[in-house]
């Protein structure tokens, strides 16, 4: 009941924020972001290999046109716990890119085919070039974007501690993913009275609502998957898949971490129980 009231209140707030006149829209107020269901959420979560492979396809065909991802190398794409493409196909993929190397023995830089150890190629040479291409804006590197974003708590202050406890009990660490999904699916026509700044787009999830990034995906312009990809393409499916891929890129040891975690916790739990009884028995003599 309470949660429903809060949700209604929040929805009213969001609605008010979206339809409110320009002054409110100009402020960088946080907006409500819906939590999504992710395969990698919670204690038992693991990345879905097929989803990461689809996500990489979106990344490669859409995101990589403007964004770099310097902390992921080709070899990572073949690693377990990630998209885990067959190593041979990743080698071939790497070799399809030209990489500058050198200097050689004559002091000259040269071009060679990419190798597994090379980072994913950047679409620009440096920040200056990126800004000159993108009308002054700098598309951020996407290696850590899923960790570098989060969802702000918007409920009443007295429920904040409970919300925090609920999150830690559930192991909720997917705020960044929820935000990215909301952002990728958040492009709308601006409300009638809103004047967008030059080159800006309206996005319901972006703080301040005006984002320089053009809609990377659209309802009628999304990436289609191959028949055996495990899902059919749509704006939402594309957004979901690429968000999963970005979440993996920001935390490639995720699966290993959670797999080790329950073993450690089980060990500690048994130890604690044994210690409790040992302590109880020992102290029974004096208390």
């Amino acid at each position: 009941m309470i949660t429903r009231t809060i949700r209604t209140a929040l929805q009213a707030l969001v609605l008010a924020a979206v339809v409110a006149p320009t002054p409110l829209l100009a402020a960088s107020e946080a907006v409500h972001i819906d939590r999504q269901k992710w395969s990698f959420a919670g204690v038992t979560g693991t990345f879905d290999k097929a989803q990461l492979q689809r996500g990489y396809q979106i990344y490669k065909e859409v995101c990589a046109v403007c964004h770099a991802m310097k902390r992921i190398s080709f070899r990572n794409l073949a690693q377990a716990g990630g998209p885990a493409f067959p190593e041979e196909s990743v080698k071939a993929l790497a070799a399809s890119f030209k990489v500058e190397d050198g200097p050689d023995d004559n002091g000259k830089m040269f071009q060679r085919p990419g190798k597994l150890a090379d980072p994913l190629p950047s679409p620009f040479k440096n920040e200056k070039e990126a800004r000159s291409i993108h009308n002054g804006a700098y598309p951020p590197d996407l290696s850590l974007i899923a960790r570098a974003r989060n969802v702000e708590y918007l409920g009443p202050w007295y429920l904040h501690p409970f919300s925090m406890v609920r999150d830690v009990v559930n192991g909720y660490q997917e705020g960044g993913a929820d935000y990215l999904y909301a952002l990728l699916t958040g492009y709308r026509n601006p409300p009638g009275n809103l004047k967008l700044a030059d080159g800006m787009n309206f996005n319901a999830a972006f703080p301040g609502y005006q984002i320089a990034m053009v809609p990377p995906l659209a309802k009628d312009n999304f990436i289609k998957y191959q028949a055996d990809a495990g899902a059919t393409g749509s704006l939402e499916q594309n957004a979901r898949d690429v968000t999963a891929f970005l979440s993996w890129a920001a935390d490639p040891k995720h699966d290993e971490r959670k797999r080790m975690g329950w073993k450690v916790l089980l060990y500690l739990l048994v130890t604690s129980v044994l210690l409790y009884f040992a302590k109880k028995r020992l102290w029974a003599k004096v208390h």
Partner: protein, 427 residues
């Protein structure tokens, strides 16, 4: 305690030979095996051991991280990512170190509130308490500098804001503050130079803490542990030997603590962190909200509650420094708040104030938040400067038990069990 004799008996010829030259085993035996601990300690007393564990964990993981970390503005952030991604189990070591800092402060705050509740600062434990306050201060410095090393946006802007506080001293002597800030930074802004010196200090200070902890424990073992009744150990029946009794209890509590620790390390490593710190430091872009780590929030709230910059800085440092004077500000003859019907209410009000200040420290300094931060800051200081001296005088404490044993076993309980505790070796 000071006159407590070690019952150490060398068990081999080598041990006997050693004992006549360097009786370290005798000392350890006397201090950590048959050392008398009050028999009525509750689980709040397990945090001393837990804190020692935290310090060891931070030092061990820290040394390993240092082997892979590159302390320069260009490489720091990348090397942390290198640790997370490429170093064998680097993600684990880094999570333990980052979460470990939070667990360390969590434990130290419980330890401090326990000391305040049971009057563990009162004579003859003043020096013990003051060393504790100094440890807390050095811990804060260490934690603050460690957070800088990550060289994310929050690291960079946090250090910029906090070091800049010293510039308020310009109001005292013109130019003094600016000089100090430049001296801290090693330049005219926070830069790789700052990072590098913070790295050196961040590696040094934990060993300073270890030395202070040794003094803390030494002092503790001279005056003996306080206990929930606040009474001194009067008879042998009031205590049990540290090993196995207190050790066993400490181990059980530590195990639960590590359970929580592990939960955070494996399932919520970023729960207490800031997303902004996964963005590399950028001197040209300021984050929307600059917020320190959670364990500094109450002091940050006090800093911002005062309308003048210099005043805020003074208040913030005073909030820590005032702890040094607590042994003399509290006028009550009774140690334990358990027997103080009036002060008990004020104690919990103080706890609520600290929590509220922590909450407000994370909020933007505007509107109603500032108003409440002022209210709770006022109480924070009033608690020490007014409540402690006045309540101690006007309050009539409740009847104290005659001894620790009586508090545990009831008035007639001095029988078999007390004897068992007095001479556990005879069971």
């Amino acid at each position: 305690m000071a006159n407590h004799e070690s019952t150490y008996v060398p068990s081999s010829r080598f041990a006997k030979w050693m004992d006549e030259r360097l009786p370290i085993a005798r000392m350890m035996h006397g201090q950590f095996v048959d050392f008398p601990t009050p028999r009525n300690l509750n689980y709040l007393w397990t945090f001393g051991g837990i804190l020692s564990f935290c310090l060891v964990v931070q030092i061990v993981t820290g040394v390993v991280l240092a082997m892979h970390f590159a302390p320069s503005a260009n490489d720091a952030f990348d090397s942390v990512e290198h640790i997370r991604r490429d170093v064998n189990y680097g993600w684990l070591i880094r999570n333990i170190h980052a979460v470990g800092a939070s667990m360390f402060f969590f434990a130290v705050y419980i330890h401090m509130f326990r000391g305040l509740y049971y009057g563990s600062y009162k004579a003859p434990r003043e020096i013990l308490w003051i060393i504790g306050v100094i440890i807390f201060l050095v811990m804060m410095a260490t934690g603050f500098m460690g957070y800088t090393l990550v060289w994310g946006q929050m690291s960079f802007w946090g250090v910029t804001v906090i070091t800049n506080l010293f510039s308020s001293l310009d109001g005292v002597i013109a130019g003094l503050g600016t000089k100090i800030v430049q001296w801290l930074w090693g330049g005219y802004s926070v830069s790789g130079v700052t990072l590098n010196r913070f790295y050196a200090l961040h590696y040094l200070l934990p060993f300073v803490i270890a030395g202070l902890v040794a003094l803390h424990i030494w002092s503790l073992h001279v005056v003996g542990q306080n206990n929930p009744t606040g009474l001194d150990i009067k008879a042998k029946a009031d205590s049990v030997p540290m090993a196995p009794f207190a050790v066993m209890k400490d181990l059980f509590a530590l195990s639960l603590f590590v359970l929580l620790f592990a939960w955070l390390v494996f399932y919520a490593p970023d729960w207490l962190g800031h997303a902004d710190n996964y963005v590399e430091a950028n001197p040209l872009a300021t984050p929307a909200h600059i917020v320190p780590e959670w364990y500094f929030l109450p002091f940050y709230a006090i800093l911002r509650a005062i309308p003048s910059k210099l005043g805020g800085v003074i208040a913030m440092f005073a909030a820590i420094a005032i702890l040094v004077f607590v042994p003399w500000l509290d006028t009550s003859r009774v140690r334990s708040t358990k027997y103080r019907p009036i002060y008990r209410w004020f104690f919990w009000l103080f706890v609520i104030s600290c929590l509220a200040l922590g909450y407000l420290g994370a909020k933007p300094a505007e509107g109603v938040y500032v108003m409440w931060a002022r209210v709770f800051t006022l109480y924070y200081f009033a608690h020490f400067l007014l409540v402690m001296p006045i309540v101690g005088i006007i309050e009539t404490p409740r009847q104290l038990p005659r001894s620790i044993t009586e508090a545990v076993l009831g008035p007639g309980g001095g029988g078999a069990k007390a004897a068992a505790a007095a001479a556990p070796e005879k069971r």
